[in-house]
């Protein structure tokens, strides 16, 4: 089974996959080594998942959740929430009860 799958996904590696472009969409700074390695490895994975194209999915509804529940709401009553100092407890940079971030506007 293993060898069989191996051959299958190596033969079908995706060609139009630009790892650098996608990593930027995901806000992940990669090293050149990572770009090369992930590009090759994910090319193989994408080749493998191509097999879904064999399945006839016409007239099939998508499943987002296995449990069919919709519009779950609770009573609109104020509940206690995290106090400010608890919310800031793990902040990498804070001041005056706020998170400190790089300057966004001049």
């Amino acid at each position: 089974m293993r060898e069989g799958h191996g051959l299958l996904f190596r033969a079908m590696a995706a060609t139009d996959f630009d790892v650098k472009y996608v990593a930027n969409l995901a806000r992940l700074t990669l090293t050149p080594q990572e770009e090369k390695l992930f590009g090759e490895q994910l090319g193989q994975v994408l080749g493998y998942i191509e097999k879904l194209k064999q399945v006839d999915v016409s007239n099939v509804e998508p499943t987002a959740h296995a449990v069919p529940m919709v519009n779950v709401v609770r009573a609109d009553v104020v509940q206690p929430s995290l106090p400010n100092e608890e919310a800031l407890r793990n902040a990498p940079a804070k001041a005056n009860g706020l998170f400190v971030v790089p300057k966004i506007v001049e």
Partner: protein, 487 residues
């Protein structure tokens, strides 16, 4: 050696005052001292706090509280590093959360505490639950107690190894594509993945929100039933938890499985499975038949697509869930001149290779131009996978399969090839896609070397009681659950 006993044995001892909760906690801490250098299940634990909780349990026992009222009173239970305990570290096996301290507790943790458990320790895992071996932990690889050159499985590898090495009495893990059942099989313990919605996910760090469930690792099926009864139930803090009553799971363990119908999916008994695994599972099926179950062949025709569906849906959901780790509100921050550069550098430095690969894959399958071809198509095939199971469950009460194709593999054997690692979850993944429940329990050993083999029993949505009943009847008629790893 109190650490070697089960929850049911210990509650008997405590009720008769044959031992104290403090002695139980101390024997677990002693075992950790003795073996955890080689097993490495624990990322951290607080011995003083553990003993203080145990003393509190002893005071409760002295005041007349019983195990009828608090089923886990005085029982040491450790947690996968993905569950929040107020005031304790929560790291998900990742550098990006290395110094994070939880501001609140998970619902399951509150439930364990109200049931009297001594909740302690952070157990090793693949980073953000992404992996099948604990080799993706940012800190170290946990070792299989049956053979320390091998991995314990993953992602809840620390949770499985800690029970197998008798470092605590039971643990909790999480299962997104097999992360409870696969390590339970490879370490020779019982691991239960409840139906999606059975257990609240509040306080569980999200990996793939439509697939994740929390569940127990125990030494036997009775303990699994006890743990499941404690952690199950509807929770207003998790909108995907289901308001379904929680039956008495322990009461379901009556040994009577006469007339229950078991399905053997022909797609799971194929080439590529180690013959020793296959033989052990076939023998287990015969044993279940001998106990009165009826066995029929069934078909789950979309099985071969499950791994592909999973790696689209799970990575897509992960890419969205892990967007929160951006260096602004908590966790690691690597500074940059603009917010975008700060995000990129923080995430580049804080996440390990597998997490990055999955975020990239998930981002890609959701990106403009590829959404329909990958993500939407995968969701449709997920419907077909789920329908396969629902159709099968019209004919059978449960489905029996191997949990994994082989016993535990060697550390380093699959790290260079993510696709091979993904395929080790081939028998466990469909259960999460379908949202049903399942257990893995020991059903034998390979011969050279001696490694545990897992039997998987899958049940209907909210069919936990039937699965536990079958697992318990099988377990009690076989010797496997009494075997312990020599550590």
């Amino acid at each position: 050696m109190l650490n070697q006993l089960t929850i049911s044995e210990l509650s008997g001892h405590l009720a008769k005052r044959q031992c104290s909760a403090r002695e139980i906690a101390q024997s677990c801490l002693d075992q950790i001292q003795r073996v955890d250098n080689s097993i490495q299940s624990f990322l951290s634990y607080d011995a003083a706090d553990t003993l203080a909780q145990a003393e509190q349990a002893d005071r409760a026992l002295a005041s007349g509280i019983t195990h009828q009222q608090k089923p886990l009173l005085g029982v040491p239970i450790a947690l996968k590093d993905v569950l929040a305990v107020k005031g304790q570290p929560l790291g998900c096996g990742s550098r990006i959360l290395e110094k994070f301290v939880s501001p609140y507790s998970a619902t399951v943790v509150e439930k364990l505490q109200s049931a009297g458990a001594v909740v302690f320790g952070r157990l090793n895992m693949d980073e953000f639950a992404m992996g099948s071996s604990t080799e993706n932990s940012a800190f170290f690889t946990t070792r299989n107690p049956w053979d320390t050159t091998r991995i314990p499985g993953g992602s809840s590898g620390g949770s499985a190894a800690a029970v197998a090495a008798q470092e605590c009495i039971a643990t909790l893990g999480s299962d997104t594509g097999g992360s409870i059942r696969q390590p339970a099989a490879l370490c020779g313990v019982v691991g239960f993945k409840p139906t999606y919605g059975r257990v609240s996910r509040y306080g569980l760090v999200a990996f793939a929100s439509s697939l994740d469930q929390i569940g127990p690792f125990t030494k036997d099926v009775r303990d699994a039933a006890t743990m499941l009864g404690v952690i199950s139930g509807h929770d207003l803090k998790d909108s995907t938890s289901v308001p379904e009553p929680v039956p008495d799971y322990v009461a379901a363990l009556d040994g009577n499985i006469k007339g229950l119908r078991l399905g053997l999916p022909k797609e799971y008994f194929i080439g590529g499975v180690d013959p020793e695994v296959s033989n052990a599972v076939q023998t287990a099926v015969k044993q279940l038949e001998k106990l009165g179950a009826e066995v029929v062949e069934i078909s789950l025709p979309h099985t071969e697509y499950a791994v592909a569906v999973y790696y689209i849906i799970a990575t897509a959901e992960a890419s969205a869930n892990l967007a929160r780790f951006d260096g602004i509100r908590y966790g690691l921050r690597v500074d940059g001149p603009t917010p975008a550069e700060l995000y990129g550098k923080t995430r580049g430095a804080g996440f390990g290779a597998e997490v990055k690969r999955r975020i990239i894959l998930g981002t890609y399958v959701l990106s403009s131009g590829y959404y329909d071809a990958y993500y939407l198509r995968a969701q449709k095939v997920r419907t077909l996978v789920r329908q396969d199971f629902l159709k099968a469950f019209e004919r059978v009460d449960a489905i029996v399969t191997p949990t994994t194709p082989t016993g535990a593999f060697k550390a380093g054997e699959k790290t260079g090839d993510p696709m091979q690692m993904y395929l080790s979850d081939i028998f466990t993944i469909s259960c999460n896609l379908a949202g049903i429940c399942g257990v893995s329990l020991p059903c034998g050993f390979t011969s050279q070397p001696k490694l545990p083999i897992g039997l998987q029993i899958l049940g209907k949505p909210f069919g936990e009681a039937t699965v536990l009943k079958l697992a318990h009847a099988y377990e009690q008629s076989t010797p496997w659950h009494r075997e312990r790893a020599k550590v």
